[in-house]
């Protein structure tokens, strides 16, 4: 079993995955509280278009990813109206971004390898330097959540009363989107844009079914995310397969199990 840590690339992978999972678990909790889960889905897709565009123009895909996710976050923060209409607009932005991504890929002469690397991630190919950048970024973004924890929840629950008490509700909402964009930019090269939102949505979705306490839910969400990525990495190592698949598949199974147990209990109570 310990042979798994024998290789440096596996140690780096575990470390990076641990950080990614923690970030995803916390960010996802607040996205769910604000009803912004769909924005969490859309931002990685938008970021992919940026990466593809950067590769086409000869820039670093990471730069394109950061620019597009931040622009996407800014655009989504500006959307008004009820959640249904807002999600419709996010959907339109996402579709347009994906179309652009496709165009950029087709314009690139040959096989746009770096863009595909952003799309699918390369957990097993991370260097020590990249892991250090990850650690610093995670620390900074983690501090944002510690700082904004209470007013962000208050503003999500009751924007009127929070605003009356002096909480900058709109600024906090926009800040959460910007932070989500940065989380996506930090995590996408590792897990791939296709699977960032597995970690942004699934662990928090499961945790919020299991407890009504916000602090417990955040901790549980992070713990679940960690268990998911570690299990997925181990399975991927031994079966010589892609970790991303196992993360998503395991998350889905756990969520399904929790909902089934809930439904069963509900029927017994009635």
């Amino acid at each position: 079993m310990m042979t798994i840590f024998h290789f440096e690339f596996m140690r780096n992978a575990f470390l990076a995955a641990t950080l990614v999972a923690a970030l995803g678990g916390v960010t996802g909790f607040f996205l769910i509280q604000r009803g912004m889960t769909f924005a969490g889905h859309a931002l990685p897709g938008i970021g992919f278009a940026g990466a593809a565009g950067a590769v086409w123009l000869g820039f670093s895909p990471l730069a394109g990813l950061v620019v597009f996710t931040l622009a996407g976050a800014g655009g989504i923060a500006k959307l008004k109206g009820d959640p249904r209409e807002r999600d419709l607009h996010i959907g339109m932005i996402l579709v347009t971004a994906l179309a652009l991504g496709l165009l950029f890929l087709s314009l690139y002469p040959g096989f746009a390898e770096p863009a595909y690397a952003i799309l699918f991630g390369s957990l097993l190919g991370i260097s020590q330097g990249e892991t250090q950048v990850m650690a610093l970024g995670s620390l900074a973004l983690g501090l944002f959540f510690v700082f904004a924890f209470r007013p962000l929840l208050f503003a999500s629950f009751d924007p009127q009363a929070a605003g009356a008490r002096g909480v900058p509700t709109r600024t906090l909402g926009a800040a959460l989107l910007v932070v989500t964009a940065l989380v996506v930019a930090l995590c996408a090269p590792i897990t791939g844009t296709l699977l960032v939102f597995t970690l942004l949505v699934a662990p928090a979705a499961i945790a919020t079914r299991l407890t009504a306490s916000p602090l417990k839910a955040v901790l549980l969400s992070v713990a679940l995310a960690e268990v998911l990525v570690w299990t997925a990495l181990t399975l991927a190592y031994f079966w010589n397969s892609v970790p991303g698949f196992f993360v998503a598949a395991l998350a889905f199974l756990v969520y399904l199990a929790v909902r089934l147990v809930e439904a069963y209990r509900h029927r017994r109570v009635k």
Binding site: I32, R150, P151, L153, F154, F157, R165, T211, A212
Partner: protein, 259 residues
């Protein structure tokens, strides 16, 4: 209750209200004194909720002046407690009753609310004041409309306000629960001496404890006792059309308009 000699805590001096670029009230004038229970009545769109937002400092009057504790209203004033309309809340969040009430204490502060005995005791006390201590650990999303409303009031009480602004606290409550809610608010007002501005569609549940009503309709307003304000002549004048007020078994019915 006779008017007390103390100065008013809230004054509207010919204050105009705009909503969505449209003038909905061109000059409201009234004074609210410590411990008074005033119902804000009127049809949809008359500016009842907007009036509360002016008091909270979230909106500014388009003309005239508002004085709250002798100064213009501003946000972050802990001397007022506020519960918004239900429809503006996100009820499906991961929050316990205790967390909701705790927002009233320190929801505006940065950082996290770490467990601490004094904080817990204050929250429990506020819960007890609204007969909701048994709900403390329950998930907000699983509570009934009446229970949720009580928690919001407990939240509003945590800053020891001198004025409570309640926006439609009786919406989504049936008659007996509405009466319980009114009795609770009245009890709080008597024990704490808190003034209450109570926005409601239906005046009947609040009749037993009202000092005054503020009636908004047709861009105009009147403040006075129920007997003076809710009359066929007065409401017809406000609405600018024929409105009939009927009394039956101590209940008032306003006919000819959508309230």
């Amino acid at each position: 209750m006779e008017q007390t000699p103390s100065p008013p805590i809230l004054e509207f001096l010919n204050a105009g209200i705009q909503l969505g670029g449209q003038v909905i009230q061109n000059g409201i004038t009234f004074s609210l004194y410590p411990g008074q229970f005033v119902a804000v009545l009127g049809p949809n769109g008359a500016g009842k909720s907007t009036l509360l937002k002016l008091v909270l400092g979230l909106l500014k009057p388009t003309s005239g002046e508002i004085r709250l504790f002798g100064a213009p209203p501003r946000t972050g004033n802990r001397r007022i407690g506020y519960t918004p309309q239900f429809s503006s809340l996100e009820a499906s969040l991961t929050l316990r009753a205790r967390d909701i009430v705790g927002f009233g204490l320190d929801g505006h502060r940065w950082g996290m609310a770490l467990p601490n005995k004094i904080r817990t005791a204050k929250i429990s006390q506020a819960l007890e004041e609204v007969d909701g201590l048994h709900l403390a650990e329950a998930s907000f999303s699983e509570l009934s409309g009446g229970e949720r409303q009580r928690l919001l009031i407990a939240q509003a009480l945590l800053s020891d306000p001198e004025l409570l602004l309640l926006d439609e606290p009786l919406a989504s409550l049936d008659l007996s629960h509405a009466q319980e809610m009114v009795a609770l608010v009245d009890r709080i007002r008597r024990t704490r001496g808190t003034a209450v501005l109570f926005v409601t569609h239906d005046v009947n549940p609040v009749l037993p404890c009202l000092d005054k009503v503020l009636y908004l309709a047709g861009g105009q307003s009147t403040l006075g006792t129920v007997q003076d304000v809710i009359t066929t002549d007065n409401l017809s004048r406000l609405y600018g059309s024929r409105v009939e007020v009927l009394q039956s078994e101590g209940r008032l019915f306003v006919l000819g308009v959508d309230t």
